[in-house]
């Protein structure tokens, strides 16, 4: 069975993980990705996690996860000869995705104005923290500051504890969000390219990617002039964490029939009929009073028993999963969510798989992430046709690692 994106040729480079994630999404559906790293290697090689905690650029979990199914070459883009080789790769490609900050991209000649000369039908995506225009375009940024600039950290924290700081979510979520947005936009443009052979430039702002997923926080201001508060704008309850005998459970009743079923489950305690808990909005106002009542009842249960019992009644409770819970989940096993692949340095490992199954075209892990410069010969020598002498000279000049 052919993959959905078979034949789509993508070149990816940049120091952040947004471009890596965008092209990973495409690689796993069969696109042909060439990842261009600097001779020092993608910074994701330093991020870990590492087996046994021992730093190893060939065994960083972040890098391995993001770069399976790709071919890797090294090129020093700060040298004219490196750029010339990149231009030759771009000449035959369909898509170019890069995430250098605007100033660095310009210094490296990675502007659409220049790139389009190499290949007018190329789709180029530039992923940056703040976009390519506007007063913040040159601002320095990392995940934490982008999450703040996008309004996310301001709504994450502990309710009722203003002494605790606004909080980030785990990982590098702003880069992942920018990456998936870029993949969406690139696929839209690639559909157009199939029909018209038209190339174009896409710019993606990570800050805007975050502002556009703030649930009802942003519109709370533009519709009601209600300021943002920590832990989101929770206009209704119950939506909260509770401690069971053996771990945490997430108690959630969004729709009123779910609350009614929860009351039934609890043996219809009379406080369910009190006016102060009569609807989701007053339950939110009186949450300090309701929460301990629920906690008392929940603490008699194990997580798994309560989860199954609630779901039997169509109440959308969920366990608060650890990584071990995910790897041991019978449900995820039955769906084949985790994918296993070998790697010379780490051996066989399970990776997160795909969140979707396409009936006619597979998602698959075919090859592990490339070792640094692993595909210099097949790509630069084979595909571009550089002679052994040219390759040797590029190596001597430090253009290719």
């Amino acid at each position: 069975m052919a993959c959905a994106l078979e034949g789509l040729s993508v070149i990816e480079c940049g120091p952040n993980i947004a471009a890596s994630y965008a092209s990973k999404l495409m690689a796993d559906l069969g696109a042909d990705i060439i990842k261009v790293e600097s001779p020092a290697g993608d910074p994701a090689r330093t991020l870990g996690p590492f087996p046994g905690g021992k730093a190893d650029p060939e065994a960083s979990g972040t890098f391995l996860y993001l770069n399976s199914n790709k071919q890797g070459v090294t090129l020093a883009l700060d040298k004219p000869k490196g750029r010339a080789v990149l231009d030759r790769l771009l000449a035959d490609a369909d898509v170019f995705i890069q995430d250098y900050p605007p100033g660095e991209a310009e210094a490296l000649g990675l502007t659409y104005q220049r790139i389009r000369e190499a290949n007018p039908r190329l789709i180029m995506a530039s992923i940056t923290p703040f976009g390519l225009s506007g007063p913040y375009r040159g601002f320095k940024a990392y995940d934490l500051t982008v999450a703040s600039a996008g309004g996310w950290t301001a709504v994450n924290g502990w309710p009722g504890r203003p002494d605790m700081p606004p909080l980030r979510a785990f990982g590098q979520q702003t880069a992942y969000q920018a990456g998936v947005n870029a993949a969406v936009a690139v696929m839209g443009a690639a559909f157009q390219q199939l029909k018209t052979s038209r190339g174009q430039h896409i710019e993606v702002s990570a800050q805007e990617c975050i502002v556009s997923i703030l649930e009802l926080t942003f519109v709370m201001w533009s519709y009601m002039e209600v300021p943002a508060v920590r832990w989101g704008q929770r206009p209704i309850h119950p939506i909260d964490f509770f401690e069971c005998k053996d771990g945490w459970i997430f108690v959630l009743c969004l729709e009123e029939h779910q609350w009614k079923s929860f009351l039934d489950m609890m043996g219809n305690p009379e406080w369910g009929e009190w006016e102060v808990f009569a609807n989701p909005f007053v339950r939110a106002s009186n949450w300090d009073a309701l929460k301990p009542l629920i906690q008392e009842w929940v603490s008699e249960w194990t997580v798994d028993d309560l989860y199954r019992a609630a779901q039997t009644k169509r109440i959308p409770f969920a366990p608060v999963s650890t990584m071990a819970d995910l790897l041991n989940s019978q449900h995820l096993k039955a769906r084949g969510f985790f994918a296993e692949i070998g790697h010379p340095r780490t051996g066989d490992l399970k990776y997160p798989g795909a969140p979707y199954k396409l009936s006619g075209t597979p998602w698959e892990l075919r090859t592990p992430a490339p070792r640094l410069g692993q595909h210099n010969e097949p790509v630069l020598g084979g595909r571009l046709g550089l002679s052994p002498e040219e390759m040797a000279s590029l190596r001597k000049d430090g253009v290719v690692a």
């Binding site: 789509l8 391995l64 559909f191 519109v219 943002a228 990584m323």
Partner: protein
Amino acid sequence: MSGPLAGVRVADFTWVWAGPTCTMQLAHMGADVIRMESMRRPCFIRTLPPWPDGRPGLNRSGYFNQYNQGKRSILLDLSKPEAVDIAKRIAAMSDIAVENFAGGVIDRLGLGYEELRKVKPDIVMISMSGYGKTGPESGYVSYGPAQVPLSGMSTLTGYRDWPPMHVGMSYGDPTAGLHAAYAVLASLYHREKTGEGQYIDMSQCESTMVLLGEGIMDYTMNGTQPPRSGNRVPKMSPHGIFRCAGEDRWISIACGSDVEFAALCEAMGRRELADDARFRALADRKGHEDELETEIEAWTLTQDAFELRDRLQAKGVAAFPPMLNRELAEDRHLNERGFFVEKEHPEVGVRKHAGIPWRMSATACEVWRAAPTIGQDNEYVFGELLGFSSDQIADLVAREVIH
């Protein structure tokens, strides 16, 4: 409608947040998205705030209006066979169908993939259920807020030595919506090349798990998971959110190198800290992070957050205050970039909404219209598109097939 998907039509059976986020991406790129809504069970987020003047109304929710920009809405009663036939006629004229009911519901309505492909053999259809269409928990109910804890994100997020935490939004919803849009577009690309449509089974909670690669790989490599560490990370220091002057005002600061840390020390007027043995290199700073953060916060406490941001940025230090919603709405950068969308809406007037987080140079993307009022496009869809006469429409309304 403009954009790379101009001419593409979407039969939109979605509701709440995840599904509508998927179809909004398609609308952003110029697809004609027709949301089929129910008066008996209106979209849940039409019933949620914020509402202008605090007055509820199905067409007044800012939450709904944010995530349904640029779509059409029609009203059908899908419990009636005739309405199901009408929905099928719309699907037959569509390229894409999207639904996010709980597992199995769309099949019971008679609008599953096997039915839709009979009327449109090359349709691309996606089901976005909470747990996916297979597996022992496939029939479970799930909503975005629960997918944060379910996916494992909550046990990774939180203050040091505190309980697991949420992330401040129903993160599973937009994450599922965006990954769904990507899978749909990859399938549309494949269809354009081969003529073949297909069916996509998407699990919303898995779409959050794929964003936790660092945590999951730590477990599969080492049998451990990263501890909750507040705003700290292993490879950067300082990396935190520090209190500033004023009530509940803060600034996030992250230094990715010793050079950036030295620039921060200079901005603090404490150049000597960069040479302090406790703070000189990353490993030193990680070993004395409490002391380092105390030094920094003693300084930020006396500073205005926004002035501090500009001073630190001028020195090449990544810094930004956690933006409140009002500050985002008034932010000069976002406004100058034309990010916000303010279209006339018949019931809420002109309101500010978050717009499209990307720009395309050749096939410009824009929101062509505000979110629809419920059933706003009955006339266009039933009359113009499906060709029903006004008598036929009146008859369907009288029999409550459509509303």
